[in-house]
C-alpha cells in the first residue's frame, strides 16, 4: 500500500485510541456525576464517542493494513459500518426509554427546579 496505507493506518489507529480515551472519560463521568439525569450525558459520550468512533476508525485501519485483498477489506469494513450505524440508532433510543421511565416514575433531579418536577 505504501505511504497511503501508512497514513490510513495511523489515522485509524489514532481514532481507535481517541475512542478509548472518550470511553475512559465517559466511565469516569458516570462515576463522578451526582444523579441520574446528569449521568445520561456521560453515557451518551460513552456510546457515541466510545463505540461509534472507534468502529469507524477500525474500518479505516483495515484499509491501511498491508497484505489483504480488496474483498477481505470490504468483508471487514461493511459489517463495521453496519454496527456503527446500529449503535447510532439504538443508543439514543435506549437512553430515551430509560430517561422517560425514570421521569414518569418520579425520580427527582439532584437540584430541584420548582414547578418542573412531577411528584
Amino acid at each position: 500500500m505504501g505511504l497511503g496505507g501508512l497514513v490510513l493506518t495511523i489515522i485509524g489507529g489514532a481514532i481507535i485510541f481517541i475512542g478509548g480515551l472518550f470511553d475512559l472519560v465517559a466511565a469516569l463521568g458516570v462515576n463522578k456525576f451526582p444523579d441520574f439525569y446528569t449521568r445520561l450525558h456521560a453515557v451518551t459520550i460513552g456510546a457515541i464517542g466510545g463505540a461509534v468512533y472507534p468502529i469507524i476508525g477500525s474500518a479505516i485501519l483495515v484499509f491501511g493494513v498491508p497484505g489483504l485483498s480488496l474483498s477481505a477489506r470490504l468483508s471487514f469494513a461493511l459489517p463495521m459500518l453496519v454496527i456503527a450505524s446500529l449503535i447510532l440508532i439504538t443508543a439514543p433510543t435506549g437512553s430515551h426509554a430509560v430517561a422517560r421511565a425514570a421521569y414518569r416514575s418520579g425520580l427527582k433531579p439532584y437540584r430541584r427546579i420548582p414547578g418542573e418536577v412531577k411528584k
Binding site: A14, F17, F76, M80, T90, A91, A97
Partner: protein, 92 residues
C-alpha cells in the same frame, strides 16, 4: 497493531468503571444506563479485537450485541410502564 494494543487497557479500565457504577447505582436506572453503555462499548471492543485477531468471521457477535443492547433499556422501561400507561394507537 501498536495502536490497538495500547488502546486495549483503556477499554478494559472503562469497562471496570462502568461496572462499578452498575453495582453502586442508587436507583435501578443508573445501573441500567451504565450497563447499557457497557454493552455498546463491548460491541466496539469486539470489533477492535476482530481486527487484532485478523478474522472478519468474528464480527457477527458485535452485530448481535449492537442490535440487542437496548433490549435491557426497553425491559426496564416496560416494567415501569405498568404504573404509567402511555402511548396509544397513534402518536402519544
Amino acid at each position: 497493531m501498536v495502536f490497538i494494543i495500547v488502546s486495549i487497557p483503556l477499554y478494559i479500565v472503562a469497562f471496570i468503571l462502568y461496572a462499578v457504577r452498575g453495582f453502586k447505582g442508587p436507583t435501578v436506572f443508573d445501573s441500567t444506563i451504565s450497563i447499557d453503555a457497557l454493552c455498546y462499548d463491548v460491541s466496539a471492543f469486539m470489533v477492535i479485537l476482530s481486527v487484532y485477531f485478523r478474522s472478519y468471521l468474528l464480527l457477527g457477535a458485535g452485530i448481535l450485541l449492537a442490535l440487542w443492547a437496548y433490549i435491557l433499556d426497553v425491559v426496564i422501561a416496560r416494567y415501569y410502564d405498568r404504573f404509567t400507561r402511555i402511548g396509544g394507537d397513534g402518536g402519544d
